[in-house]
């Protein structure tokens, strides 16, 4: 049962991890995107539709990334170029995505696709305990193992990452050195949306193997919370995503094992946990926030 739970955590946490990593990139550049949920929805439908038409789930992942990126591009235009409020813009785009996916998703509701299969890693998947938890999944789960360290490396060890973080910490320094803050924020937000789109595509073409209206069911908002929980650090995003994944799969695992549990009491756990963590580590957590992001929080323009 523990093994089922941990395997479920890895499987269920993967989409949240992609979205959380994307949100980390965009928030590191100073842009908070509540539209992550929308990017995931578009990614789920985009991925599903492309897979349905081409028969190739890898193209589906690409389609999901493009769909997610397109929505975050709108966010970037509104927020970076037009100075719109970040929270209002993100929420607006969530509704836009909800509508667009409802409209175009109808025709895919009962379509069968060539979804990702689980690919057990030869040798490793036979290890008792660790094997089924880590090495008996679809390819996107494996890629996620490397995505978090890779994004950490890019953010903290490369020039591009330095630009992104500077846009989030002290944007005027970019201007002084001849870089455009706007361009950096645009690209970071778009990259964030693409990652969220991949997360959404994971749900539709690897996790649920189907499309239905509003199928992301709040995972994008969880990802936004996760970024704070993880203090804007990709490695902690990875740990946090699996933790949230475990909490999400806890109910079904317990029910399969024959325990009569009210699944909704358990579903609230990740959110309560995040609130408790914020309450306990609140000050420290918010100190870890990129400076320009704190500015968004503290002086959100409300008129």
């Amino acid at each position: 049962m523990i093994i089922d739970l941990l395997a479920g955590a890895v499987r269920g946490g993967t989409s949240i991890m992609y979205a959380g990593l994307g949100e980390t990139v965009s928030e590191r550049a100073g842009v908070i995107n509540l539209g992550t949920e929308g990017s995931m929805l578009l990614g789920a439908l985009g991925g599903y539709a492309v897979t349905a038409h081409t028969g190739n789930p890898w193209l589906g992942v690409l389609g999901g990334a493009v769909a997610g990126a397109l929505l975050s591009l709108v966010h970037a235009v509104l927020v970076v170029s037009r100075g719109a409020n970040q929270f209002a813009s993100g929420l607006t785009l969530y509704f836009l995505a909800l509508g667009v996916t409802a409209l175009f998703g109808v025709s895919y509701v009962s379509t069968q696709i060539n979804a990702f299969d689980d690919v057990p890693i030869p040798g490793l998947s036979d290890i008792p305990g660790i094997g089924p938890v880590l090495f008996d999944h679809d390819p996107l789960v494996y890629i996620a193992f490397f995505a978090a360290p890779a994004i950490w490396w890019v953010l903290f060890r490369t020039r591009v990452g330095l630009l992104v973080r500077t846009a989030g910490e002290r944007s005027e320094a970019l201007g002084v050195n001849g870089y455009s803050v706007k361009a950096v924020r645009y690209w970071s937000t778009i990259a964030g949306g693409a990652l969220a789109g991949i997360g959404g595509a994971h749900i539709s073409i690897a996790y649920a193997d189907s499309w239905f209206e509003n199928m992301i069911a709040g995972r994008g908002f969880i990802a936004v919370a996760l970024v704070i929980f993880a203090m804007w650090n990709p490695i902690r995003i990875m740990a946090g995503a699996y933790l949230f994944g475990a909490a999400l799969s806890l109910a079904s695992v317990l029910q399969t094992a024959g325990y009569a549990v009210n699944q909704f009491a358990l579903a609230a756990i990740p959110f309560v946990l995040t609130l408790i963590v914020l309450a306990v580590l609140g000050k420290r957590t918010m100190l870890a926030a990129p400076d320009e992001l704190s500015r968004v929080f503290d002086n959100s323009r409300t008129a």
Binding site: G30, V31, L34, V74, V77, L78, V79, V80, R82, G83, A84, N85, Q86, F87, A88, S89, L91, T92, L93, Y94, F95, L96, L98, G99, V100, A102, L103, F104, S171, E172, G175, Y179, K182, E213, N214, F221, I222, A225, I228, N262, F264, A265, A267, A268, F271, V272, T274, L275, L278, A279, G282, K283, M286, V296, F297, D298, N299, S300, R301, T302
Partner: protein
């Protein structure tokens, strides 16, 4: 703004910004002339924004193989020309307006309350709890009053969690209120699938239906219940409190510059706390109206998306209580039109979210009188 002064923007953009700046005079003009032209300019921007939204929505409809003109005329005839539908719109608008006021009040103090959704659900739970326990004991009128108070207290306490975290550990309320939305939703689902489950409910689980005598009374000859009047009164009260009282003035000082307010000796902590508590109480009131006036029972979809729509309604009205009433009716009309869209054109009801999203994108991005920094 800081980006532009640092020379990161090229010349043409600066010129464009200057043109925009001259075309749209400052908000507080000194003489009559600019005010009128500012009004026209704003009206024009709104017109273009709305038209752009409608045209883009047509493109979406067209791309899906439906005839946009038929869709619009269906929406028009079935939504706006039948008095029954019009009443539906008004009924839908009431909780949106109340939950919108829950955004307006904190916004005046510079706070972002994304938690209307959860505060509304908790308000519904508070109302349902009062109904559950008091119906056998008290007269219906007492039950109605108790439900209302219970809902407001519950909503205020829920927002109070976010206020406490903001004041004690400095965690931003936008984050906590959003997380609390999910805790509220799952609390309600826990209740209606567990202790409050109606054993007679068929299909989806719900709580026991509210006693007929305790349902909100309707205005004679219509379906309009007094929740609509409550919403209008609340909007006027909020308008008065924000524009005609010391408290309202101090809130806007805190919202403008918290540090200045602190140095001027204003009780910033109390102001932030009261703004969020009152906001929560208003969203709780929305939950009460939705429960006792519309749905009569808690169900998994109770009040779904009202809080988020209300957040956008508040932005649409630039956080002004009276325009908020108009914005609520507009967004309610779009939501109601989704039903006719589904029936007449066979498109999913949720498609109208596109129209709402596009309108808001246009309004957020292109009707602002000044260019704000992000």
């Amino acid at each position: 703004m800081s980006q532009e002064t640092k020379g990161t923007v090229d010349g043409t953009a600066a010129v464009a910004a200057a043109i925009v700046a001259t075309a749209v005079p400052a908000e507080v003009p000194t003489d009559r002339g600019p005010r009128i032209s500012a009004g026209w300019s704003t009206a024009l921007r709104w017109l273009v924004a709305v038209l752009a939204g409608l045209i883009l929505f047509s493109a979406f409809v067209l791309a899906n193989g439906a005839d946009p003109i038929a869709v619009y005329s269906d929406i028009w005839t079935s939504t706006l020309t039948q008095s029954g539908q019009f009443q539906q719109i008004i009924l839908r608008a009431a909780p949106i307006a109340l939950a919108g006021l829950a955004v307006v009040v904190p916004a005046r103090a510079g706070l972002v309350n994304v938690g209307g959704e959860g505060q509304l659900i908790i308000g519904g739970i508070g109302a349902a709890a009062a109904a559950l326990w008091l119906t056998p004991l008290m007269s219906p009128w007492v039950v109605v009053i108790a439900m209302m108070l219970s809902a407001m207290v519950a909503g205020a306490l829920w927002a109070g969690i976010a206020a406490t975290m903001r004041l004690v550990v400095k965690v931003n309320e936008a984050v906590t209120t959003m997380l609390l939305n999910y805790v509220a939703l799952y609390t309600m689902l826990f209740l209606i699938l567990g202790p409050w489950k109606d054993p007679k409910a068929l299909g989806q689980s719900t709580s026991v239906e509210l006693n007929d005598a305790a349902k909100l009374p309707v205005i004679a000859g219509t379906q309009i219940h007094i929740g609509v009047i409550i919403a209008v009164i609340a909007a006027i009260a909020v308008w008065f409190a924000l524009t005609r009282t010391t408290w309202g003035f101090r809130l806007s000082v805190v919202g403008g510059n918290g540090e200045a307010a602190r140095r001027a000796g204003m009780p910033v902590v109390t102001l932030i706390l009261t703004a969020l508590l009152i906001g929560g109480a208003l969203a709780g009131l929305a939950g009460f109206v939705q429960y006792a006036g519309m749905e009569y029972k808690l169900r998994p979809t109770f009040g779904l998306t009202i809080g988020y729509v209300a957040f956008l309604a508040s932005w649409l009205s630039r956080h002004k209580p009276l325009p908020l009433l108009v914005a609520s009716v507009v967004l309610a009309a779009i939501a109601v039109s989704g039903n006719s869209l589904q029936i007449n054109s066979g498109l999913p009801a949720a498609s109208v979210n596109i129209l709402m999203g596009l309108l808001l994108v246009a309004v957020l991005g292109w009707t602002s009188p000044r260019k704000a920094t992000s």
